[in-house]
């Protein structure tokens, strides 16, 4: 802990943003890894009261928002539903509407796909949650393209990739126009848009919330995705955590935003990361190791390999031995499983893994541990707070999406230990800045209103990347 002002780290560095503050969001992944034995009833993972407890802790810790991803089809493994993890979840907007009555300040960001819904309905639902929360809602925009997900919808998977993105742009423009067409203090005006993909002719029925429009988030790392974010987004979800890489990524996004006539700092960057804090660095490392062991069950290790081999290896794979000598014989990657996705070639992937295991002398367990390792912030409150203060002052990012490792008490240590340490260093607020998500993220009014030409569809359209 730094208390001597002469050693204030802000004076030792030529920081890009010496007075920056970090935002924390609560992010719950779709298949969270918790110790099941800690909960008396497995159904507790779906109880709204339990969510209310978790979110109350986040709000006590002045978190900016709760962020939920979306799943439109439950994961499978080797031709059956995958029973390995806690899966399934309440509908995000229904949950957020409930939590609106249980909270006062924290924001709620829902990931909602544009592929299998109509803009007028999605606009109404989001505007409803925005009004119920007094202006604390956000929308993380994603699209999906695979026919596998489409099997859950009458709309199905009917668009080519390029058309899908153009439809997404038209969709977003329609939603935002619907929101603007019913001001809080006036009467609604009809909206008519007749695009190539989105045809809307409707009178909006939900008036604007105190924040005007819900805050617009998206994911995106590709060139197209970054450009789309720079043009339109107010929040960006990423995975860049390492100092140099994160600083470069954020600088690139801000530069692109300025090219569109935006100030650049009106784009908030949020990588996802695990945060493990305990009283001492050693305790924190033990805790992180423990969570790692809970995650790396033999079944999970085997599933990672099976997802590439495309068959059941339960009788032949020793997780403390080597990868199978033969195979895989499949040529198509049909499963997405964490570190594997359907764009991969299984045989090339297997060759890559064999080489990596040989080079580093890894067993299957070691290999999967290596492949699935994610960047974590691990340490005492002082250690992690110093690290985060350095990163946010360097403009590596604006905030973190923090994944709790237990439910509903998985944020207790972050809120009770880390938040005070961040506050001591002057990198975390002492109170919510305002009442809306927009105010609490330090965002001005929505991009489309400030820079109206940006609301127009660009020629050719651009990509919105999907996110889990």
């Amino acid at each position: 802990m730094t208390t001597d002002p002469r050693s204030d780290p802000r004076r030792d560095h030529d920081y890009a943003r010496p007075d920056a503050r970090i935002h924390l969001n609560l992010f719950q992944p779709f298949g969270p890894v918790y110790e099941w034995s800690r909960t008396p009833r497995p159904q507790d993972y779906y109880e709204f009261e339990q969510y209310a407890q978790l979110v109350a802790t986040a709000e006590r810790g002045l978190f900016s928002a709760v962020f939920l991803g979306e799943s439109l089809r439950l994961r499978e493994h080797l031709g059956a539903l995958n029973d390995i993890a806690i899966t399934g979840r309440p509908d995000a907007l229904t949950l957020f509407a409930y939590l609106a009555a249980r909270t006062t300040s924290i924001g709620f960001v829902a990931t909602l796909n544009t592929t299998y819904s109509e803009p007028a309905e999605l606009a109404r639902r989001l505007a409803t949650v925005d009004l119920l929360t007094g202006g604390r809602a956000g929308w993380n925009v994603v699209t999906t393209h695979n026919a596998w997900t489409g099997e859950n919808f009458r709309r199905g998977g009917y668009l080519a990739a390029a058309d899908r993105y153009r439809r997404a742009e038209e969709y977003v423009a329609a939603v935002q126009e619907l929101w603007d067409a019913f001001p809080a203090d006036g009467a609604p005006r009809p909206v008519a848009r007749h695009g190539a993909f989105v045809d809307v002719e409707v009178l909006p029925s939900v008036p604007a919330s105190p924040q005007g429009q819900t805050v617009y988030f998206q994911a995106g790392d590709s060139d197209e995705g970054r450009d789309f974010a720079a043009r339109r987004a107010e929040g960006v979800f990423t995975h860049h955590i390492e100092h140099d890489e994160a600083v470069a990524f954020t600088a690139d996004l801000r530069r692109r935003a300025r090219a569109y006539g935006r100030p650049g700092d009106d784009l908030k960057v949020f990588p996802g990361a695990a945060v493990v804090v305990a009283e001492t660095d050693a305790e924190a490392r033990d805790k992180a190791r423990h969570f790692r062991d809970v995650f790396l069950t033999e079944r999970r290790i085997r599933q990672v390999v099976e997802s590439v081999w495309g068959r059941d290896l339960s009788d032949e794979l020793d997780v403390d031995g080597a990868l199978p000598a033969e195979g895989p014989s499949v040529t198509e990657q049909t499963l997405t499983h964490g570190v594997v996705n359907s764009a991969d070639d299984p045989r090339r992937k297997a060759a890559e893994w064999r080489a990596l295991a040989a080079e580093r002398g890894l067993t299957v367990r070691g290999l999967v541990e290596h492949l699935t390792s994610t960047r974590e912030f691990v340490g005492s409150p002082g250690t992690v707070a110093d690290e985060l203060a350095h990163l946010v002052r360097s403009d590596a990012f604006d905030g973190l999406n923090v994944t709790p490792q237990a439910f509903p008490d998985g944020l207790d240590d972050v809120v009770d230990l880390l938040v005070p340490a961040l506050q001591e260093r002057g990198v975390y607020p002492e109170a919510y800045a305002g009442t809306t998500l927009r105010e609490n993220l330090g965002l001005p009014e929505s991009v489309g209103r400030r820079v109206p030409e940006l609301a127009l569809l660009p020629a050719g359209g651009a990509a919105v990347e999907g996110a889990a």
Binding site: W36, S37, R41, P42, Q43, Y46, F48, A52, L72, L74, E76, G79, A80, L81, D83, I84, A85, I86, T87, G88, R89, P90, D91, L93, T94, L95, A97, Y98, L99, A100, A101, Y116, S117, E118, R125, T128, V129, L131, L132, T133, G134, E151, N152, F153, R154, R155, A184, D185, A187, P188, L203, S205, V206, P207, A208, P210, T297, E298, R299, R300
Partner: protein
């Protein structure tokens, strides 16, 4: 919310009221009229008054005209509004309307199941065909009827995909879920198809009670041109084996006689017939009429013409006449489920039935088709 042998009584909370000119009496902005504290207060007042249900409409026939004329207040999405109310009420049933024309059963099943989790079994679903038209057009077998039925059936099929007992959370075997109790829905209809399973686990009630139109509804909604017509419609529905919910629009004597209030409202906007039974008069006369209809129906949905005026009158003067003293207080034990309150049998699960009946279902076992 326990079955009393008397009809359950619900209060519509939508907007300023059933009359298209109701919102014109208010000087409030739409955003203020729809503010969450207002919604919460209205639901709590209904619960405290002893209403068994609060109802959230998805549409009014005069919506477009009222909104375009600047006199409408707009409306929150009913499912989300009901989920919000789940957090601020403890006993009252929460019925949300949704439209089904073009709707995706997958989204509906997840949202409505989530509402039931939020309300711990107090949720009900009132599917209506579209914002313009409550009941599907044409006779049974029409395209609208078929689509309506397919959507309701698909939603119920998705609610069955997670059977009771599906949660194992067995750390020894690393299995959180029991594949024998977790299923694809594999619905393929003329209008909808859905693979499943649902994202949200089976709702606490198994199936939310469906209050709507057509043979698939648990309670069939009826209206009527007059009380005798309503009674005969209700009797006909019961004769066909259905339970009945009666839709009633009510305008009562307040500061001015009901007829004068109606004339003043009609001078601003025409209140065209909607198919609901419409009762205009003194609280005592309306209470007597409703008490006469009570034996014919299983639930009554009261839709106040001007909510700010008529809802309190309904609570004070009409509601007590529909229940003998004490029955509603006795029914107010928290935690009881809406299905039970409506006198419905527990929801069966098609997959449980198939397994226990020894039959093999094509989608059991969690194997992909």
């Amino acid at each position: 919310m326990t079955s009393t042998g008397r009809p359950l009584v619900g209060l519509e909370l939508d907007g300023a009221g059933a009359h298209p000119a109701a919102s014109a009496l208010s000087a409030e902005t739409p955003a203020r009229a729809l503010a969450p504290d207002r919604l919460a207060a209205a639901a709590r007042a209904a619960e405290d008054a002893g209403f068994d249900l609060v109802w959230l409409a998805a549409a009014r026939p005069w919506d477009a005209a009222a909104l375009a004329g600047g006199s409408g207040h707009g409306r929150l999405e009913p499912v989300e509004a009901a989920a919000f109310l789940a957090a601020v009420t403890t006993r009252v049933g929460l019925v949300a309307e949704t439209t089904v024309a073009g709707a995706e059963p997958f989204h509906l099943a997840n949202r409505l199941a989530s509402l039931d989790w939020a309300a711990q079994g107090r949720a009900g679903w009132a599917p209506v065909w579209s914002t313009e038209q409550h009941a599907p057009a044409g006779g049974s077998g029409s395209s609208e009827h078929t689509e309506h039925q397919e959507v309701v059936d698909a939603v119920r099929a998705l609610w069955d995909t997670w059977e009771d007992g599906v949660f194992l959370a067995d750390e020894a075997t690393g299995r959180f879920l029991d594949l024998d109790r977790w299923h694809y829905a594999d619905v393929r209809g003329e209008h909808v198809s859905v693979k499943g399973p649902s994202i949200t686990p089976r709702p606490p009630q198994g199936h939310l009670p469906v209050l709507g139109y057509g043979p698939g509804a648990d309670l069939v909604r009826v209206g009527g041109a007059d009380p005798a017509d309503a009674a005969s419609r209700a009797d006909a529905a019961r004769a066909a084996g259905a339970r009945v919910v009666l839709d009633v629009e009510v305008l009562l004597d307040g500061d001015h006689p009901a007829a004068d209030r109606l004339a003043a409202l009609d001078a601003r906007a025409t209140w065209a017939p909607t198919g609901q039974l419409r009762l205009v008069g003194s609280p005592a006369a309306v209470a007597e009429t409703l008490a006469g209809l009570a034996p014919h129906v299983d639930a009554i949905r009261l839709d106040p013409a001007v909510r700010a005026v008529d809802a309190p009158l309904l609570a004070t003067h009409v509601l007590p006449a529909l229940a003998s003293p004490g029955t509603r207080a006795a029914s107010s034990g928290g935690g009881s489920r809406l299905r039970d309150a409506l006198g419905l049998t527990p929801a069966q699960n098609r997959f449980t039935l198939a397994r226990e009946g020894g039959a093999t279902t094509p989608t059991a076992g969690g194997r992909a088709a």
